[in-house]
């Protein structure tokens, strides 16, 4: 935007346009003129001071949380934690669970045979159901089975809590 001595300068063009009431030319000329003016700029370090104030007010988290702040990283962390908990549970409780399943199958077969024999021997329905109830109650009352149920409940609660956290985070990140 050089200045030729024969070229009309923005201030001349603007004031001449104002005198003629030529709005369009006046607007354009004043635009050219005002663009030349220096705009006030923020002092050095302004952004750092704002970020420090935002951290102090608890608006922005401190930079130590940065590693865990990405949505993908957080999701992966939750999935990894869940998978580790599942594998750990299976490793610790796996053999016990297998034994329990085998035991349940064995009892079922024995129970079926016992029911058939009882029916052939003239046992009535109520007595039969009472015997079955007692047998099931006795098998559940062992410390091993009770502990297994307790641990399974804990795992279920942890899984539900994890799912809730993941879904809440997803909702928040897309707001």
């Amino acid at each position: 935007m050089g200045h030729d001595r024969n070229q009309t300068r923005p201030i001349e063009a603007w004031l001449a346009a104002e005198q003629r009431s030529d709005e369009t030319t006046a607007d354009a000329a004043l635009h050219d003129l005002i663009r030349m003016l220096p705009a006030p700029t923020p002092p050095a370090g302004f952004a750092s001071r704002v970020m420090a104030a935002a951290a102090r007010d608890g608006i922005v988290r401190p930079s130590t949380h940065r590693v865990w702040s990405g949505p993908t990283v957080r999701l992966l962390a939750w999935c990894g934690g869940g998978a580790a908990a599942l594998v750990g549970t299976l490793v610790v409780l796996g053999p016990s669970l297998v034994r329990q399943v085998v035991g349940v199958l064995n009892i079922s077969v024995q129970g079926f045979v016992w029911i058939v024999r009882g029916l052939e021997g003239g046992l009535d329905t109520w007595s039969l159901m009472a015997e079955i109830g007692r047998a099931v109650g006795t098998s559940l009352a062992t410390p091993e089975v009770s502990a297994s149920f307790f641990v399974l409940e804990l795992v279920a609660v942890a899984a539900l809590y994890t799912l809730h956290r993941v879904l809440s985070y997803d909702k928040g990140s897309t707001r």
Partner: protein, 196 residues
Amino acid sequence: MSDDRLVRDALAGQQDAYAGLLQRYERPVFHVIARLVRDPGVAEELAQETFLKAFRRLGTFDQRRGFLPWLLRIAHNTAVDALRRRGPQTLDIETEPGGGARVIASDDPGPDRQTEHRLEVRDLQAALARLRPEYRLALVLRFQEEHTYKQIAYVMGVSEGTAKSHVHRARVWLAHEMQTAGWSGATNRPGSRSTK
């Protein structure tokens, strides 16, 4: 990266996204506030307050408006509230640190033209500083920050017609002030400023 993406990331807790928004818009926010208030120190304080308010209300940002107009509206309201508390004041841009005309000539305009240009900038700055704050802001948003009338209206909380009226009145008033200072549209070169 788009503003919407930065806002989403900031809402998800990413500090870098806040810093990105701040670095992208610190200049226009400071500019708008500094045009409204007199003291550069107060302008910095209000610009900081503007960003903290914006960060707190980030969840209410409406993407259809655009981030900058939304931010400038907060800046405008913050500055106007401060002006109401302190009483009306105008900014004397000539007293700003680092203030001075940009070098706009690519060829050598000669000493006469350089002097003329410095006088032109000085008088225009002085006239701009004497404008009513709302007129000055409308003019700056229109011609320096290059916003549309619709955006200016949103930033200032007025109708589009009022925004146009502000710019028009500011332009006419500024022309009158410049003519009073000795400038004219006549081409009595070199320069068009009559000696006072």
